[in-house]
Subunit: 385 residues, 2 copies
């Protein structure tokens, strides 16, 4: 007898499928789809593989050779099937051609223009379509489903780029010695994971100080990863790096137009015309960018996500402006001491403990002694947990 | 057919057994024991339940009604069976009375006086006795076995008390606002776990500032936990709390002699005779205790472990002296900012990054959004990881 699946179990598989598309489908969200036979055996599964390619539902449908097998079948998909004809036609329409017994989707489309419309198309075709309601032991899947579309949601609802921060520090939050001395604090396994994270966001960002001090390559170095060159973003309010860029490692690994330099309005005019992509960003105050403004400028330039890797000054600026979407915190098993260390929140101040910046823990990964804590920002301001 | 066990699987069960004794058997180590039949079926299991009570091996043996069942049996125990007649007689001798096929023990007795002697007694009686060698997938058990005896080892080998630190902070290592404002940063689940940790160490310690500022009870509040009052230790180099102790909450939950106050040699004479237990401790410098010296004084006073809960000044002093054995770090999902926050390493300084204090990660526990990172100190000084 073949293995049968509950809807919850099928959703676990659909999420695994969706994850295969992370980093490959932006600005679309990663989506996974599972088709079960009338007897709840696995008929097909698929995921959205590449922007412009088939959606997950179409991928899964294409796996079923004999379309008559779809009569009475159950479709489980991580996101509401799309109602609008985008690059590839409406998935809700495609699904409604078959006499499916049910369609269960993980999350309603966050796009207000199409929200609920996919479900409606299916219902009108006589298919029992509904949002996924997990049994209690599968409730954690809701968070996973939400996390799959975190970038998409920010892009669609706020028309800005998704900002992920990464910091690697000692247990007491120190990233370097005040003397300026700095070295790898985390282990090679952590650095490998960090390269993987680089690969799933559209550009890698650092501050001007890190660029000029470390002269990093910022390319993606993972075994088996294609040598596709990645975009980089330099956060440089005064445009000080522009004149030096030609001599830096960055330029060896990508073309000049893949190097974006975010400069404040107050210094924009002073920056000479250049072959690099100079972005004009609003200022927070003189010499400091408005980082939410920066994320909108990125979006307008079709950069839908950024992975900000530091240094301390830059990450601290995002923390001080309470502005970012996701936070990857690598904690090394050591203590440096704050009396002589440089903290990754050195420029963040609050007036009162109730003004603390609250995050939500997504998951924890142990990396051979290091720990990766993965958080999302909570959007309610002034929340006391 | 009854379930059979490999030696590795039996060791997992023996470790589970041993854990039941944590916090109850000090200054003995917690020990667990499993007996398998000649066919490797479970015959009995047992653990050391209380100081002065039966050792684990004797507990397990007592579960076997028909002693002839022990012929050809396999004993798996977390620690080398003791050779010396302590309070309860030698376990190695007790085991050697039966025609066992094998005895596998997790760790050699760290006590240099008896190390290997338990094995020798068994071998002389014709029992195949040897130290546990895990298959590769069970190699993690070696760390667990070592962790079971971490206190015992420090007590036996260094003749000092085992020092566990606990700190609860924001992600960026802040425990309070510089204005002095402070509040619970971690959630109720974390605080519950902290109370459990209190219960497994022999005394709960805080610094003088925390005592006078917070007026804590420091008792053990866990559902189902007996109301046994616990010892407390106040780290108070100048003895400033002694005169005020009578008015504090501490005294409502324990007798005066259960309240230990560690005072530096340089201030010891100024402290008036008192009904509380005043400990005379060596100084590191004027007004600051030598914390390793304190741990020796505790040992001499038959306090074999201490759980140091803060505040920032006290934990920071331990970090600055590179002196502690275990570190429980509760990380709350929030950022406070180091510009206006108080760090738990505020008094720690290093000259060079290579002087960082290296720890070993034992385990990670997710506590409803908070995270508990459990570390041990690495003893090699100046280790660069």
């Amino acid at each position: 007898m073949e293995k049968t699946y509950t809807i919850d179990e099928a959703m676990v598989v659909a999420i695994e499928e969706a994850k295969k598309g992370i980093g490959l489908v932006s600005p679309n969200p990663p989506v996974g789809c599972v088709i079960l036979s009338p007897k709840f055996e696995l008929l097909a599964k698929g995921h959205h593989k590449v922007f412009g390619g088939n959606h997950a539902e179409i991928e899964a449908l294409s796996q079923v050779d004999n379309k008559s097998d779809l009569e009475g079948a159950h479709v489980v998909v991580t996101l509401e099937p799309c109602a609008h004809k985008g690059k590839t036609g409406s998935c809700a329409m495609a699904l409604s051609k078959f006499k499916l017994a049910s369609v269960t989707y993980g999350i309603t489309d966050p796009n207000p223009k199409v929200k609920g419309k996919g479900e409606l198309i299916l219902k009108e075709a006589g298919v029992e379509a509904s949002r996924y309601r997990p049994k209690s032991e599968f409730e954690y899947l809701i968070d996973e489903l939400e996390l799959l579309i975190d970038q998409f949601k920010v892009n669609i609802l706020e028309e800005r780029s998704f900002i992920a921060l990464k910091i690697a520090s000692s247990m007491d939050g120190m990233v370097a010695h005040q003397s300026g001395q700095s070295q790898w604090i985390t282990n090679s396994k952590s650095r490998q994971v960090a390269h993987h994270l680089r690969s799933i966001y559209e550009c890698t960002a650092v501050g001007k100080n890190t660029l000029l001090f470390d002269d990093p390559k910022l390319n993606i170095r993972i075994e088996g990863h294609s040598e596709k060159s990645n975009k980089v973003l330099i956060i440089d309010p005064k445009g000080e790096s522009v004149g030096q860029m030609n001599n830096l490692n960055l330029t060896k690994y990508r073309s000049p137009e893949q190097i974006y330099i975010a400069v404040g309005e107050d210094h924009f005019k002073k920056v000479k015309r250049s072959k690099f992509s100079i972005l004009r960003c609003p200022n927070k105050e003189a010499g400091l960018l408005d980082l939410e403004g920066l994320s909108k400028v990125l979006y307008q330039n079709k950069i839908f996500s950024a992975f900000v890797e530091g240094g301390a000054f830059t990450v601290s600026a995002f923390a001080a402006q309470n502005f970012f979407d996701r936070f990857y915190y690598f904690v090394a098993p050591c203590i440096l001491g704050s009396k002589t260390g440089v903290s990754w929140t050195k420029s963040k101040e609050i007036q009162d403990l109730k003004d603390k910046l609250a995050l939500r823990l997504n998951k924890v990964e142990v990396l051979e002694g290091d720990v990766l804590l993965d958080y999302s920002r909570l959007y309610q301001k002034n929340v006391i947990i």
